[in-house]
């Protein structure tokens, strides 16, 4: 069944200035201006909100969940994370050796 409704707009909500906009849902609307009004009613009635973005859903290019391989790591990549380095233990060991 084809979608006979108005175009779909995805809604992004900003809790406070300086925060990232976060996707919260979507609305159908005849145009962007109306989408903002509806988004405000739907998504900004209770949560703190300082700004809304609406983006036509068909303007969003998304990756395919079926292509999740694109995010997979072939190998262990802990070497590029802070938690991959146990410096505390090494310093303790070094201090212990120094006091021997």
């Amino acid at each position: 069944m084809s979608d006979t409704q108005w175009p779909l707009f995805e809604v992004f909500h900003q809790k406070a200035r300086g925060e990232h906009h976060v996707h919260v849902g979507s609305v159908h609307a005849p145009d962007a201006e109306m989408a903002l009004v509806l988004a405000k009613e739907q998504y900004a009635r209770r949560m703190a909100c300082v700004n809304l973005w609406v983006v036509r859903a068909d303007h969003i290019h998304a990756s395919d969940y079926a292509d999740s391989d694109m995010f997979a790591h072939a190998t262990d990549k802990s070497y590029r994370e802070a938690f991959g380095y146990k410096v505390g233990d090494k310093v303790k060991k070094k201090k212990k050796e120094a006091t021997k």
Partner: protein, 326 residues
């Protein structure tokens, strides 16, 4: 990676010619602790200072990859090589985030890159010094990035939304650089006599640039009260340098290393670190283009830009071919 790079120069009043009503609204906004976003009204001097600051930060990230990237082929072991590749990739990525944040203020990326290549824009002084040994990369990753994190955590408290958001992500990645650098330093410090000597040499070489890192002393820097009020500047250079010394001097000593400054000590009465004057004349000379590696670094950057021209052209070209596999 980033440090304060210039002596601030403000010749006229930063609010000359601004609409007092709009200015009052803008200042009230910042005083409430709220961020400024790109469509908001802002004073011309606010915009100018932020572009200068974010642009220099972006250039520093991209130029900082050069002295370290040089060591990728010579890394001692595969693990270190992988980590250094990841770190250099991060730094270049940080530049992209920051150029984008600066663009929101109205200066194009092309203009920023042109200004870097022509020598008009500055970047952090420290990247104009050579890295003759592997230990230099360890000291950079540990102590320069430690200084950068202090600076970036401070700037993340600033008033401009896009810059703060970029810094949040950058600080997350810098925490890996710091740990990786610390780990490399500990390995060398726990190693053979030759490794320890190499590390101490590197630390001796880098100490003065590190003392330069947060910029000239407050008494020499002409920063105005209003830049602090607008949260363009958040903490003074001296405050950040003191925080660096507080945190890292004990860690350096703990590893059995010495700091090449006989006057370095914490004054028990004031709680402040005292240290030798790191020669601010030298700082000024290097930032203005006359450091040991300024020409070499910019030369490599220019070459990379020219040799990358075909990539930019290919990305911008109309796509005519259809994929073979549908």
């Amino acid at each position: 990676m980033y440090g304060s790079t210039t002596f601030t120069d403000i010749k006229q009043s930063p609010i000359a010619g601004e609409d007092p009503e709009k200015l009052a609204e803008f200042e009230a906004h910042i005083a409430r602790g709220e961020k400024i976003e790109p469509p908001d009204w802002m004073p011309a001097e606010y915009r100018r200072q932020l572009i200068r600051m974010i642009e220099q930060h972006a250039h520093s990230e991209i130029m900082g990859a050069l002295p370290e990237g040089k060591w990728i082929p010579h890394a001692p072991g595969f693990g270190r090589k992988l980590a250094l590749v990841a770190k250099v990739q991060d730094e270049v990525g940080h530049a992209q985030l920051l150029y984008r944040a600066a663009e929101t203020l109205g200066k194009s990326r092309e203009q920023m890159i042109d200004d870097l290549l022509s020598g008009k824009s500055k970047y952090s002084n420290v990247f104009n010094y050579p890295t003759p040994s592997w230990a230099d990369t360890a000291v950079i990753a540990w102590l320069i990035d430690a200084g950068a994190i202090i600076n970036q955590n401070t700037n993340a408290e600033g008033s401009y939304g896009p810059y703060c958001r970029a810094l949040k992500r950058i600080c997350y990645e810098e925490s890996f650089h710091l740990k990786y650098g610390y780990d490399s330093v500990i390995t060398l410090a726990s190693g053979t006599k030759a490794q320890r000597a190499m590390l101490q040499d590197a630390l001796n070489r880098w100490w003065r640039p590190i003392m330069h890192f947060h910029g000239p002393p407050d008494k020499m820097s002409a920063h105005t009260e209003i830049l602090m009020r607008w949260k363009v500047k958040i903490r003074s250079n001296d405050e950040m340098r003191q925080e660096f010394l507080d945190t890292y001097v004990p860690k350096i000593w703990e590893l059995g290393l010495t700091v090449p400054d006989p006057n370095l000590k914490k004054n028990p009465a004031t709680g402040e670190w005292e240290f030798s004057d790191p020669d601010w004349g030298e700082f000024k000379r290097v930032i203005n283009g006359d450091g040991p590696c300024n020409a070499e670094r910019l030369g490599i950057r220019r070459l990379a830009h020219e040799e990358g021209a075909w990539v930019r052209a290919a990305l911008a070209a109309d796509r005519q071919a259809t994929p073979i596999v549908q």
